[in-house]
C-alpha cells in the first residue's frame, strides 16, 4: 500500500516537473516582457531596458535555457523570481494561495458531497419527480459556463439585496476593506463575501458528480451482491450504504482527480468575476502583463494541486477497493 502510493507520488512528481518546465519554456517563448518597456514616451534606452530585464531574469536576449537555469536555481532556494513590477513572487504567492485554497477546498468538498448525495438519491428514486428535477437541473448547470453562472448569481444577489433592503450578500472582494468591529463581525463579513463565489463553484461540482454518481449507483443497484446482502438479512438502507455506496464511490475517485483541473479553471473565472485576488486572477492578469515568472508559478501551483488531487484519489481508491490494497 505504502509502496503503491510512493510509486504514484514519484510518477506524479515527474509529471509536475515536466509540466512546469514546459510551462516555463512556452511562457518564455511567447510572452514578451520587453513590450512593457517599449513604446514609452520618452523612449527608454535599450541598455536600460536590458539591465532592468536582466535583473528580473526576463531578458529575451538571454537564451531561454539560461534563464530557466537561473530560475530553477532560485526555486531550489524557495525563490520564485520577481514579477514585472519587481515584487517577490513568493511573497505574493503565499497571500494569494490562501485566498484560492479557501475557495477551492470549501467548493470541492461541499460540491462533491452534495453531488454524491443527489446522485445516490436520484438512482434510488429513479424516474420519480425528484430524479427528473435534479437531472434536468444538473444538465442545465453543466451546459452553463462558470462565468455565466457567476454573473447570474451576481445579478440574483442584487435582487435579493434590493428585496431585503440591506446588503445581505456581498459580491465584490473577499472582505469589506476598512471594516472595524469585533471578531464575530469580521467573521460574518467574510462569510457573507464567501457565499456567492463558493456557490458558483459548488453548483458546477455538484452537477458534475451527481450525474456520474447516479450512473454508477444505478449499475450497482442491479448487481447480485446487493441482493445477496439483503437476502442474508441486511436492511435495504444498510445494504445500500455499506455495500452499494461504497462500490459506487470507486469510479468517483478517478473523476475527482480528472475534474480537479477543470475546477481550477472554473475558480479562475470565479475569482476574476467576484474580485477575489487569488491565483486564478493573478494568472489571467499576468498573461496580459507578460509576467513570465508569475505565469510559471501559477502553473506549478496548478500542477501540484492536480498532483495532490491525484494522490487523494489513489488513496480513496485504496480505501474503497480492497483489491488495490493487496497489490
Amino acid at each position: 500500500m505504502a509502496r503503491f502510493l510512493l510509486r504514484r507520488l514519484l510518477n506524479y512528481t515527474v509529471l509536475v516537473a515536466l509540466a512546469t518546465t514546459l510551462g516555463y519554456f512556452l511562457a518564455g517563448a511567447t510572452l514578451h516582457p520587453r513590450a512593457n518597456y517599449e513604446g514609452r514616451n520618452p523612449p527608454l534606452p535599450a541598455a536600460v531596458i536590458d539591465r532592468q530585464l536582466d535583473e528580473l531574469n526576463l531578458n529575451d536576449h538571454t537564451p531561454v535555457v539560461q534563464r530557466f537555469g537561473r530560475w530553477l536555481n532560485g526555486v531550489a532556494h524557495g525563490d520564485f523570481g520577481k514579477t514585472v513590477a519587481g515584487q517577490s513572487v513568493s511573497g505574493e504567492m503565499g497571500r494569494r494561495m490562501g485566498v484560492s485554497l479557501r475557495l477551492l477546498i470549501i467548493g470541492s468538498v461541499l460540491g462533491g458531497l452534495i453531488g454524491v448525495g443527489v446522485g445516490v438519491l436520484g438512482a434510488v428514486r429513479q424516474y420519480r419527480l425528484s430524479d427528473y428535477a435534479t437531472t434536468a437541473f444538473s444538465f442545465l448547470i453543466l451546459s452553463t459556463p462558470v462565468f455565466l453562472v457567476a454573473v447570474l448569481l451576481k445579478l440574483g444577489a442584487l435582487d435579493v439585496n434590493q428585496l431585503a433592503g440591506a446588503q445581505l450578500l456581498d459580491y465584490t472582494g473577499e472582505y469589506t476593506p476598512g471594516l472595524s468591529g469585533g471578531g464575530v463581525h469580521i467573521l460574518l463579513d467574510r462569510v457573507s463575501h464567501l457565499i456567492l463565489p463558493t456557490l458558483s463553484i459548488i453548483l458546477g461540482q455538484a452537477a458534475f458528480f451527481s450525474r456520474y454518481q447516479r450512473n454508477a449507483m444505478l449499475d450497482v443497484l442491479g448487481s447480485d451482491f446487493l441482493r445477496t446482502a439483503q437476502a442474508k438479512g441486511l436492511r435495504r438502507r444498510e445494504a445500500l450504504i455499506k455495500h452499494g455506496l461504497r462500490t459506487a464511490l470507486i469510479p468517483m475517485a478517478t473523476f475527482f482527480a480528472y475534474n480537479f483541473g477543470l475546477l481550477l479553471t472554473g475558480a479562475a473565472f470565479t475569482e476574476k468575476i467576484f474580485g477575489w485576488h487569488g491565483m486564478g486572477e493573478w494568472f489571467v492578469d499576468s498573461v496580459s502583463n507578460n509576467d513570465v515568472n508569475v505565469v510559471v508559478a501559477v502553473t506549478l501551483f496548478a500542477a501540484v494541486l492536480v498532483l495532490i488531487a491525484g494522490l487523494l484519489s489513489d488513496l480513496a481508491y485504496a480505501v474503497l477497493d480492497p483489491r488495490v490494497r493487496i497489490r
Partner: protein, 310 residues
C-alpha cells in the same frame, strides 16, 4: 479540455463488440435511427440545433445591420424594432453581433470535436493495435497531456494567435481534449485486434494502416460518433471560456465568449448586452448534450428496452 467521458462509454466496449452480431434482420443504421427517433427529448435537441444553425447562418441576412458597422444614432439602446437585441456602447447591433458570435462558436465547436475525435481514434487505435513500445510511449504521452493544465497552456500560447487564423486556436483546443477517448479506443482496439477478421486480414498481408482504417475504426464507429457529439459541447464551453478572458477568438472577430465578456462588465444596468448571447450559449450546449445522450442510448442496445421514453 479534459472533460471525462461518461462511464457508460466504457460499457460501449461490449456494445461495439456485439455490433457484428447485431445486424441480423433490419440494417443496423435503421435500427439506430428508429431507436433515436423514439426519444422525443433527443429529437427535440436535434431540431433546436438545426434551428440554431439556421439562425446563425441565415439570420444575419434578414437584419439590415452588419456586426461591425456601428449605428451612430443609437448607443446602448434596449431592444427595439430597429435593433432587435439592442445596441452596444459604441452603437453596434447586438443581434448581428450575437449571431456572428454564434456562428463562430458553432464552427469552432464542431471542428474541435471533429479533430479531437480524429486524433483520439488514430492514436488510440495505433496504441492498441501495435502494442508494445508504441503503446507504452503513446499512453505515457496521454498521461502527460492529462496532467498538463490545458487551459493554462492555451492561455500562455494565446499571444501567438493574435492576428493569425483562429484555426490555430481550434487545433490547440483539440490537442488538449482527445486523451480520454484515446484510452477508450485503445481498450477497444486491444480486444478487436484478437478477433478473427482482423487476424485473417493480417495474415493475408494487409498493411497495418489499412487494417486500422478498414477494420478497427469502422467497428467502433458508434463510440466515435457519440464521442464527437459530446465533445462539441465541451469544445464550445472551452472556447467561450478562453475567449471570455481574451485568450481565444481575437478582436475584431467575436464569439459568444467575447460577447458575454464585453456584456457582463455592465450586466447590472444593461442586461441585453449579454443575456441573448448567454441564452443562446446555454441552449446550444444543452441541445448538443441531449442529442449526445440520445445517440448513446440509440447505439447502446442494453439501454433500449427498460427505459422507454425516459
Amino acid at each position: 479540455m479534459a472533460i471525462p467521458t461518461d462511464p457508460i462509454l466504457i460499457d460501449l466496449q461490449e456494445a461495439a463488440a456485439l455490433e457484428a452480431a447485431d445486424d441480423a434482420g433490419i440494417g443496423r443504421g435503421r435500427l439506430v435511427l428508429r431507436r433515436f427517433l423514439r426519444r422525443r427529448l433527443a429529437v427535440g435537441g436535434l431540431v433546436v440545433l438545426a434551428l440554431l444553425f439556421l439562425l446563425a447562418f441565415a439570420g444575419p441576412h434578414i437584419s439590415r445591420w452588419d456586426y461591425q458597422t456601428p449605428d451612430f444614432e443609437a448607443f446602448l439602446q434596449p431592444p427595439s424594432t430597429s435593433h432587435w437585441f439592442g445596441t452596444s456602447q459604441i452603437g453596434q447591433d447586438v443581434y448581428a453581433q450575437t449571431l456572428r458570435g454564434l456562428q463562430k462558436s458553432l464552427i469552432i465547436g464542431l471542428l474541435t470535436a471533429l479533430f479531437s475525435t480524429g486524433i483520439a481514434a488514430v492514436v488510440g487505435a495505433c496504441a492498441g493495435y501495435f502494442g508494445g513500445w508504441a503503446d507504452r510511449v503513446l499512453m505515457w504521452f496521454v498521461d502527460l497531456l492529462l496532467v498538463l493544465p490545458g487551459f493554462l497552456i492555451i492561455a500562455i500560447l494565446s499571444p501567438t494567435f493574435r492576428g493569425r487564423t483562429w484555426l490555430l486556436f481550434v487545433f490547440l483546443l483539440a490537442a488538449f481534449s482527445w486523451m480520454i477517448t484515446a484510452r477508450v479506443v485503445r481498450g477497444l482496439s486491444l480486444s478487436l485486434r484478437e478477433r478473427e477478421f482482423v487476424q485473417a486480414a493480417r495474415f493475408m498481408g494487409v498493411p497495418p494502416a489499412v487494417i486500422i482504417a478498414r477494420h478497427l475504426l469502422p467497428n467502433m464507429s458508434s463510440l466515435l460518433i457519440i464521442d464527437a457529439t459530446i465533445n462539441v459541447g465541451g469544445a464550445i464551453l472551452a472556447e467561450t471560456g478562453l475567449s471570455y478572458f481574451g485568450f481565444g477568438v481575437q478582436p475584431p472577430d467575436v464569439s459568444l465568449g467575447t460577447l458575454i465578456a464585453d456584456g457582463t462588465r455592465s450586466a447590472l444596468t444593461f442586461p441585453w448586452l449579454f443575456l441573448f448571447a448567454g441564452g443562446l450559449l446555454i441552449l446550444t450546449v444543452l441541445a448538443v448534450s441531449v442529442v449526445g445522450d440520445g445517440l448513446r442510448d440509440a447505439f447502446d442496445p442494453n439501454a433500449a428496452a427498460p427505459r422507454g421514453q425516459a
